[in-house]
Symmetry: C3
Subunit: 303 residues, 3 copies
């Protein structure tokens, strides 16, 4: 595989733009299928709202950062602080993650965090992405993603970081790790989490082609566990959570750790190298040029 990069200069992002326009032409929801762009907003209004029901021990975390719950550094920081608080709160045993936005769960990593930023800032951003996954995949709480809209790339990562996934039964909503379509590569721990969820072959096909699965297709390959009508996503998540919480916590937690520890340890022992890789890749001139083209395309589409 020494010459794996042989062709990398040959074909840039040429296919990407046409890909994206085809995407919207076909009538899917116009969530940018990988990165998302959203207006900067320096207000201190929270991007995340958490309600903990102390009678049930179940917290609902609502992502409320319009237009598409982009995973910016601010968003991720707020997300992780909330997660940590709940993790420390002995009255909280279960966590449901959902979105307040129409049609989108989360559109994934915020492209603005990767475009025209210093290497230091890019590194800080990537560390926050790692942190989000580490906290979620290794959480002691029972975690359920109530996926009430599209969930590409980083949104998909967040979903497969949970213990269980319930998605709206609507073929217009899609989910998947579609990074390859944009000319970038999902890092090894995205890949490991996907393999753990759907198996090696489905993950291989999915990652090499950067596939986005409609909700019904996602159910078929096991990327989500259950489909329900739009108005039942949250109530189903609550019902399902009560089954998870009927299991003695410590036995469930040790079992979860046994299943996930190896995957988590792999990132923990390669964390700095993973940040370095990301920063050196994303700050390349060719990648920055592609991101600019992509941003301009997104802007012109809005206009």
């Amino acid at each position: 595989m020494a010459n794996v990069l042989r062709n990398s200069a040959k074909f840039g992002f040429s296919g990407v733009l046409s890909q994206l326009s085809i995407h919207s032409r076909h009538g899917r929801e116009c969530v940018s299928p990988c990165f998302s762009l959203q207006q900067r907003n320096n207000s201190t209004s929270p991007k995340i709202k958490v309600d903990l029901d102390s009678s049930t021990g179940v917290a609902v975390l609502r992502m409320q950062s319009p237009p598409v719950n982009s995973l910016s550094l601010d968003f991720l920081t707020e997300f992780c602080i909330n997660l940590e608080k709940l993790e420390m709160d002995r009255s909280c045993r279960g966590l449901i993650i959902t979105s307040t936005l129409s049609k989108v769960f989360s559109a994934g990593l915020d492209i603005m965090e990767m475009y025209g930023k210093s290497p230091e800032r890019c590194g800080e951003f990537w560390k926050a992405v790692q942190e989000m996954w580490l906290k979620l995949y290794g959480s002691n709480m029972a975690t359920i993603a109530a996926i009430n809209g599209s969930s590409p790339a980083g949104g998909c990562l967040m979903s497969i970081g949970c213990d269980y996934r319930i998605m709206v039964d609507n073929p217009r909503y899609s989910i998947g790790l579609n990074e390859t379509q944009l000319g970038i590569v999902a890092p090894f721990w995205f890949k490991d989490t996907l393999v753990n969820t759907v198996g090696n072959r489905a993950a291989e096909l999915s990652l090499e082609l950067g596939l986005l699965y409609s909700a019904p297709d996602a159910l078929k390959i096991g990327l989500v566990d259950q489909l329900v009508p739009e108005d039942q996503v949250l109530s189903t998540a609550q019902d399902t959570m009560s089954k998870w919480l009927a299991v003695p916590d410590h036995a469930r937690q040790i079992t979860k750790s046994m299943m996930r520890k190896q995957t988590i340890d792999k990132l923990l022992s390669n964390r700095e190298a993973d940040i370095t890789n990301f920063v050196s890749f994303i700050t390349k001139d060719s990648i920055q040029r592609s991101l600019r083209m992509y941003l301009e395309m997104l802007k012109s589409r809005k206009a």
Copy 2:
């Protein structure tokens, strides 16, 4: 995952008893879904009966220890001695394991071996459980489980230790590694065997929730290979065995070793630590209290 035990003190076996009564309320067979309790019986009548047909090279091992083929130290010792004899017998090429009891294949590990026993005795017991699995999962014989009744916990482990599983097509019979439901944790080699059989994600869900699958559901996730009517379990096992024995033995054996060696070696090189872990866990005051509650519940249910 450092704080995986954070909540362990918070929630004990509280959910377990209600869980169990729900279980029986729903009309399933009243096989204790994980551990089993059976009257002590110091007779020397064999708990296992073996018939080897020297014309076919196929042995049928019948478990006949009422009421539920609990895996006690005596039972396991007898099981392993029989297995070893067959393994050494060059006229024996195939082994079918089944039960003489109505409605139950094996209800799993005998709770009486874990309650009020000395650490030494607990360690001896656990070593016998390991031995049963090591001998079965690594057997040179072609091995088929003819699962003619429910098969929770240790009964499930015995089943997935075989090469092929045929179960009665009856939704009232269930199978699964349901340890978590009782507040205990299936050790890594139970987990590895389950992952090898049903894949990582099904194993994760199954172990974290301690799921028992009805026969049809077990077929769906690949926990068993085939369902047949009750009166055809043994004959189907015999027919299937003749297909296995049509394959040249040495090629099948080397292939089996290639598939299973890594999983077996993992226990072999951690055997003492695994025993120590089990003994220190099971002799804890909190666990012994839970076992007592569980025993009392089983007794009152009988009354």
Copy 3:
């Protein structure tokens, strides 16, 4: 597993011949299900034909070595030279592999390369088999197998070395790693590739029993990705290829490497030992006797 070879002397190839005759009696295509025998032919006519469409960047490699595209040393050498040429050609991005023969994709390794040959020659042959797989499984090109006929043993290995498999929707065509049926053992890298494709349990069953799957059954377990009518295999492969080539090459290539590198590295670091194993096994008297019986059976079948 120390005594895994215990029975190896007991049962030779006794079951194999009857197996094979049963096979043909049931009306399957009479492709030798594992090794193939074909008339020696010292002509220099190419066994492989390659057409590269420079407008699309897609090469079609046609295997045209009658009667059954046996993988002889000459065939494999020609195959690897062609693969290398395409890999170096920057205008070639995708490769479709198919057969010009009726009813057979490839019948697998040429038995004549293993019968009555010197250890040196056997070693040279096995190195070429390794090389074929290494080049294919690690190719930078998008690779699609257009499986227009039966594809046992080495033919199956070639298929699962590709990125995607399209097979003729005809139950008379079969595919699988059926080595065990002939008393030989698929080496670890055949096994690893199969596990990566169909998962651990299906691979275990498949390899221990040496199963050949009809096209519909192959689709069910994921051994092939898609079935189409006979006259649409190549056109479907071309259409599918255009989807693969819509993905930016370098991202797809790095992702492919991430998925397959570990499996490839395992052979690379055990290459010599794997050759030694093969040579010492295949040159055994008992194996050579079995191959002679097999050859005589094939000859008498032809007569």
